[in-house]
């Protein structure tokens, strides 16, 4: 028999963010749900109805989904029919990259080349890589400059080597690690000239920059709920009309026959509420977190003068909520652990294998050496960020960097002897 009481207890892990004792500077990983979105989701979860059912309960759910779709479409410069709901950013990226590639294989002249930047999120990066390894795609990684930006000229040159062989181009709107904002409209125009589908992962840009399918000229945009105050598990691929990627998920064909799976009505509703709020307050929000970011950059530089700010200079080419530093002589995971112990949550900004930080592929692509790539930390701001967060970090950082530097020195001095079996005695108690 299932013991519900103890099963419930197991999930009562202490939440220091909720109790206000954690300085949370990792909003790019995920950000607190907007209270209105949470309320809408909880309310919706109490209702029953499959949006694909034909009866009253189904129609009710369908109405919630379609109203949400309209809100999201409007916020992102798309028509309602151009919103394909997914389980989030990763699924939307997979659908765009693989689905568009497969769609471009039909006909007498299959197009094999896939162009993407070397700094894409793993959802795009690994999808492209997989196409290269298993689907005979010709993968070409577009180089970025030392600030992490792609020049449209690079894309022009890559396409013009053989325009007819390009299946698709994928360039993220804003980079999740260093916050570099790409000239998406210019890049989309280049692709469009040759009739090549252009996809952009706009997960990090949404809520901070004006993201619009129509204005950007992109074929497909990825957005997700949990980076802007919505729930994890709801996202969308904004997909221009007349573009039909081959599905990744087969089944009931609920979303334009491109994506299958019962629609998550409650999460979609909460996603829409979050998108509406984020859009309405976007400029004000961007300005506020931009100011916080600027004070953080100043504080970090005054505490650690040799810290290197990675990515574009603060301004229009950088996400306002992003700061990303390399701390020479330090390992990022040591910095993260020491800050965590002081109640400051941030990120090394790179992908993990079993929790092991790999040197960031983004920094390596920007020309950083391995040690600079390993010794980096990302601080990202969101709706709940305050000046006090910056102050706490500023107060903690000096000692943390000093300790991490000591640990990072490869030729570490021999370990000193502890006096008189103190540890052995302490352990025995």
């Amino acid at each position: 028999m299932v013991n519900l009481e103890s099963a419930g207890d197991r999930h009562k892990a202490p939440d220091r963010l909720a109790s206000g004792t954690l300085v949370y500077l990792d909003h790019a990983a995920t950000t607190p749900m907007l209270p209105e979105a949470l309320a809408a989701m909880v309310e919706e979860l109490a209702h029953t109805g499959n949006a694909s059912s034909l009866h009253n309960a189904g129609r009710r759910a369908r109405r919630v989904v379609e109203e949400s779709r309209e809100q999201i479409a409007q916020a992102f410069g798309a028509r309602p029919s151009e919103v394909v709901f997914t389980s989030g950013g990763t699924e939307a990226d997979n659908l765009a990259v693989k689905g568009l590639f497969w769609a471009r294989q039909a006909g007498p002249h299959p197009r094999r080349r896939v162009l993407a930047t070397a700094i894409e999120h793993h959802a795009v990066l690994d999808s492209v890589q997989w196409l290269g390894e298993h689907q005979n795609a010709g993968v070409e990684w577009l180089p970025v400059d030392s600030s992490g930006r792609l020049s449209p000229d690079v894309l022009v040159a890559a396409i013009e080597r053989d325009p007819d062989s390009v299946a698709l181009v994928s360039v993220m709107w804003a980079n999740n690690e260093v916050g570099a904002v790409q000239p998406v409209a210019d890049l989309a125009a280049v692709a469009s000239e040759h009739g090549i589908p252009f996809h952009s992962d706009a997960v990090q840009a949404a809520g901070q920059l004006p993201v619009s399918l129509a204005a950007s000229g992109a074929t497909a945009l990825t957005v997700t709920g949990h980076k802007i105050g919505g729930p994890v598990g709801a996202g969308a691929l904004l997909l221009a009309r007349g573009v039909d990627p081959v599905p990744v998920l087969h089944g009931g064909g609920q979303e334009r026959d491109v994506r299958s799976g019962t629609l998550d009505t409650a999460a979609i509703r909460a996603f829409a509420v979050a998108v509406e709020h984020a859009t309405a307050r976007r400029d004000e929000h961007a300005a506020r977190i931009g100011r916080l970011r600027d004070t953080l950059v100043d504080r970090v530089r005054s505490v650690v003068p040799d810290a290197i700010l990675n990515g574009p200079a603060p301004g229009q080419h950088r996400l306002p909520g992003n700061a990303h530093f390399s701390f020479p002589g330090c390992e990022g995971d040591a910095l993260l652990m020491l800050l965590d112990a002081k109640g400051v949550a941030c990120s090394t900004g790179s992908a993990c294998t079993a929790g092991v930080a790999q040197p960031s592929h983004v920094l390596l692509a920007m020309g950083a050496d391995k040690s600079r790539a390993r010794g980096s930390l990302r601080f990202t701001f969101g709706r709940t960020s305050t000046q006090a967060d910056v102050d706490t970090l500023g107060a903690a950082l000096g000692e943390v960097v000093e300790r991490a530097r000591r640990a990072g020195r490869q030729a570490s001095p021999p370990t000193g002897t502890q006096p008189a079996g103190q540890i052995a005695a302490a352990a025995a108690s």
Binding site: A13, D333, A334, L336, M337, L338, D340, A341, T353, A354, G355, V356, A357, R403, A404, R406, A407, R409, S412, P414, T415, G416, T417, Q418, P419, A420, G421, Q422, I423, A424, A425, A426, A427, A428, S429
Partner: protein
């Protein structure tokens, strides 16, 4: 008691999980760290291995959750590859039989990890080794007479002699031991498992790991062949007559009987054993069991964790391999090496293994076996 900042190395097994839990219960500020030792960890445990897969990392993380301590993964793959795996291969190539667990304790857990931990502000590294660690010196009458500086940490066997791991810790210096914490030494394995179950740790009935963690499936010879390539050579008997051939002398260990694939039977019809490995010529010498007996051992790379280096011969018991029996011996320093004269011969002693010296249950020190001979018995006889 002073609360210490303790780094608990958590392999994902039951021992290190309970050790971490006990350290936390004792009031220390404990942080769990899983050491990622492989650059390309496999997804699942296979066989009886247990420390290097993603599944083990997950088990360690879950144990830390249940105990209620922070948890991180430290990437030690490069250091492990250089200091343990490459060393393992090089030692076999030299005709020795290394013990990689011992080397891992010496170079990784209580060196690279400990140094990093201390630099990051930790006071101690806690592991699930079955060994006891206590204050030495005044705790026993005559402590100083044994040549031990007063107050030094004392490493001793676990109360569970079948699980005792003091041998693989015998290479640690007093300095390393002073920063170590082994909370399991007073418990049997059975008690540790029962406690894990009581604490709700899912690893309570996880099987013990036996094999070498970086060799999948336990195929040491295959692993060495992939690293060292094929190096055929002769198998000769103790008179120098060629009795067979092999694909690499690194596939053999002194005392080994199986897998020799010798064509002709021995003249006396008795089984033959590996007596000696000559790596330069690739010659493997075999012979009858009685020629495996040695009583005169030279050990190098000496560590004295339990006493001062002896100025005159001392009596000690010596353990010559993990989980091996012990032998009473007289030991003395000769130049930079240690001469160990066993009171009665031991059989199949491989160079490259550690000789760990005990006074009763207490570790006095250790060295790496470099030469063996049979001589003193006949000389005395």
């Amino acid at each position: 008691m002073t609360a210490l900042r303790v780094l608990a190395a958590m392999s994902g097994g039951v021992d290190s999980a309970v050790a971490a839990a006990r350290a936390a219960d004792a009031g220390h500020e404990v942080t769990g760290v899983h050491l990622a030792l492989s650059a390309n960890p496999r997804s699942y445990r296979t066989g009886a291995r247990g420390c290097c897969t993603l599944e083990d990392a997950r088990d360690a993380r879950r144990a830390a959750d249940v105990i209620g301590i922070p948890f991180y993964v430290w990437d030690m793959a490069e250091r492990f590859a250089a200091d343990v795996v490459d060393d393992f291969v090089a030692e076999y190539a030299r005709g020795n039989t290394p013990n990689p667990c011992l080397r891992c304790n010496e170079k990784i857990k209580f060196a690279a990890v400990l140094d990093r931990a201390v630099a990051l502000g930790f006071d101690a590294v806690c592991t699930g080794h079955h060994a006891r660690l206590g204050p030495g010196g005044g705790s026993r009458a005559g402590g100083d007479a044994a040549g031990r500086p007063a107050g030094q940490v004392r490493l001793a066997r676990s109360v569970d002699l079948a699980k005792d791991q003091s041998y693989v810790l015998g290479v640690l210096t007093a300095g390393q031991l002073s920063r170590a914490m082994f909370p399991l030494g007073d418990s049997t394995k059975e008690q540790v498992r029962a406690e894990a179950a009581r604490r709700g740790l899912a690893v309570a009935d996880k099987p013990d790991s036996h094999d070498i963690c970086f060799i999948a499936g336990g195929d040491t010879r295959g692993f060495l062949e992939s690293r060292l390539g094929s190096a055929p050579g002769p198998i000769v008997d103790h008179d120098g007559q060629v009795v067979g051939s092999h694909q690499g002398s690194y596939g053999f260990t002194v005392g080994q009987r199986r897998g020799l694939r010798i064509d002709s039977p021995a003249p006396d019809g008795r089984p033959r054993y590996v007596l000696e490995i000559e790596p330069v010529s690739g010659t493997v010498r075999v012979g009858p069991a009685k020629l495996l007996d040695v009583d005169d051992i030279i050990a190098v790379r000496l560590v004295w964790s339990g006493r001062m280096p002896p100025t005159e011969p001392i009596e000690a018991t010596v353990q010559l391999r993990a989980h091996g029996e012990t032998f009473p011996a007289t030991c003395w320093l000769e130049g930079g090496s240690l001469r160990i004269r066993l009171h009665s011969p031991a059989r199949g002693v491989a160079s490259g293994q550690a000789a760990v010296l005990y006074d009763g249950d207490t570790v006095l020190g250790s060295g790496t076996i470099s030469e063996t001979a049979l001589g003193s018995v006949s000389a005395r006889g």
